[in-house]
Amino acid sequence: MVSYLVHRLAGTLPVLLLISFLVFSLIHAAPGDPTLLLLGEETNAADIARAKERWGLDQPLYVQYLKFVRAAAAGDFGKSFKYAEPVINVIKSRLPATIELAVFAIIIASLLAIPLGVWAGAKPNSWIDNLGTTFGLFGISMPSFWLAIMLILLLAGVLNVLPTSGRSTYGVAGPEQTGFYLFDSIMQKNWAAVWDGLTHIFLPALALGMNMLGILMRVTRSSILEVMNEDYVQTARAKGLQEKNVVWRHVTSNALIPVITVVGLELGTLLSGSIIVETVFAWPGSGSLLITALNARDYPLVTGIVMTYTLAFVAINLIIDGLYAVVDPRIRY
């Protein structure tokens, strides 16, 4: 297991290097000059030259790239043009919001999708199956940003029950410790802030998780259907076990492997989805930061965020592969 993971990690390094090269050159070669965008059109040539020198933009692209790789290997992604702070710090300040949102989206999706999928798969062609399948199809066909807008329109605009932007109401939350508002508030036993945080996170997390919900539900259902035909399920029934026990103990535990894969694969989509959902809900996470950085042509920041997302995506896939062994004892690396 350990040697397998080390092997996989070693295999990822060249891929990450190639990706960093691709992202770096694409972003740097993109039209639009960060000096003009940040300093304004009326800046004189001397100031622009000075800014270019300070940001290292006066050097050839390959020199810039080599410098970037050398620094990045030591965990330094350079300084953001726009925020004049190390990229790492800027990302660190925004990442908890995105992680909190993603975790909530996964929780909402799994809590609804897995029981629904198991139920639908255990009773094919019943009303619950039809309902679940339709729901799943709606989930995968729904563009997350439209759902986000419609949720705002309905729940916040017409019914006026939930807040539509930001992470918390000003002044309710206590001092920031980890950046995870809900976690911090729970630690500080500030229940008003916990509730406030939950009301803020619910709509964006639902919009973000809907797609995953649909996919999870479909995969769970088809996986359950498949396992239901296995011999050991027949055996379990023949032993006289109640159908409830057969489904939850024998079928579900074996049907969950593809579900885990899908959760892993969908995390990438979730990360991408967060870029849009964060923009709609003015959620101060790293996704909306990416769009801001991109519009300002803040090269180091864009490269930093894209690399962070890619790293996370690759790491998640590794973890998923490791999880297989936990869920299915037959798999040994």
Binding site: V15, L16, L18, I19, L22, V23, L26, I27, A29, A30, P31, P124, N125, L137, F138, I140, S141, M142, P143, F145, W146, I149, M150, I152, L153, G157, I215, R218, V219, S222, S223, E226, N229, Q234, A238, P258, V262, L265, E266, G268, T269, L271, S272, G273, I275, I276, T279, V280, L290, I291, L294, N295, V302, V306, Y309, T310, F313, V314
Partner: protein, 300 residues
């Protein structure tokens, strides 16, 4: 023994009971999906002749008109610049249609070709192609599109290119796997013995066997391209703002959510219904053509 037999017999009869129930459901799916997709294609093609107004014509005396119902001049209302929503939605379908088909065909062509080559030849070629697959696949989906669009700039052609960049991968992976097993089949050996060249074997004998699976992948890729096009346009890195698309309409509507519900409702509904139709058709196609894809089909 008798007990076991009765068990298998029972499960056999169970299956035969399920089938007739399953079939009509399949037809409903295929029919509903087919009708939606057909409508989408027809509206996309004949759009200009049925749209009541020029989609970009600004009528400043008729700004922010609420939907007036069928028969009225602006049946779906107008936006903040007095542009007719119905006409814009109809013109928007053209962009989605064009993007969806172009992306599916181009990425299908690239993916099938590379997958077949990769699986058939193996060795170094396979290694290189699979490394490329690994690199592209390591990007979170939308992120690669955003990065490429930042580089290429807004534009319809650029958008198609950015979407193709990642959507050839599913074809390539599935086709490679199938080619690996097809390569050793008797009919390929027979063709080889008859002196067929590698190119002939791939184009005449291998690829025809991959069409069904690719068709299923293509349907799901079409659904995801429509959403991706709308997402990128929504973020302002897709098509230029002067071309009406469902995504740009939603982006424009964002500021007016609280005052004009019809602005975000109709373009979004179009995306949703179209994608739903394509997914329904894809589901039905998959069940009919290639049930093996059932599990992997979830993520294409």
């Amino acid at each position: 023994m008798v007990f076991m037999q009765s068990l298998t017999l029972e499960s056999a009869t169970e299956k035969s009971v399920v089938w007739p129930r399953l079939l009509p459901r399949l037809h409903v799916k295929a029919f509903t999906g087919g009708v939606i997709v057909l409508l989408f294609i027809i509206i996309g093609i004949i759009g200009p002749s049925i749209a009541p107004f020029d989609p970009n014509k600004q009528e400043l005396t008729a700004m922010m008109k609420a939907p007036a119902g069928i028969g009225a001049p602006h049946s779906l209302g107008t936006d903040n610049l007095g542009r007719d929503i119905l006409s814009r939605v109809i013109y928007g379908s053209r962009v989605s249609l064009l993007v969806a088909f172009a992306v599916v065909f181009v990425s299908g062509f690239i993916g099938i070709a590379l997958g077949a080559i990769s699986g058939f030849f193996g060795g170094k070629v396979d290694f290189l192609i699979q490394k490329l697959v690994e690199v592209v696949w390591a990007f979170p989906p939308l992120l690669l599109g955003i990065t490429i669009m930042a580089f290429l700039g807004q534009g319809l052609f650029n958008l198609i290119l950015a979407l193709v960049a990642q959507r050839w991968i599913p074809y390539c992976r599935v086709v490679r796997g199938q080619t690996l097993s097809l390569r050793n089949r008797d009919f390929v050996t027979a063709a080889q013995c008859l002196g067929a060249s590698n190119r002939q074997i791939i184009t005449r004998h291998i690829i025809p066997n991959l069409i069904q699976t690719s068709l299923v992948i293509g349907t799901f890729a079409m659904a995801s391209s429509i959403i991706a096009e709308a997402s990128l346009s929504f973020l302002g890195v897709g098509v230029p703002p002067e071309i009406p698309t469902w995504g740009t309409m939603l982006a424009d509507a964002r500021i007016y959510i609280s005052t004009a519900w019809w602005l975000p409702l109709f373009p979004g509904l179009c995306i949703f219904v179209t994608v739903l139709g394509i997914n329904l058709l894809g589901d039905a196609l998959r069940d009919i053509l290639d049930p093996r894809l059932k599990r992997s089909g979830a993520k294409i």
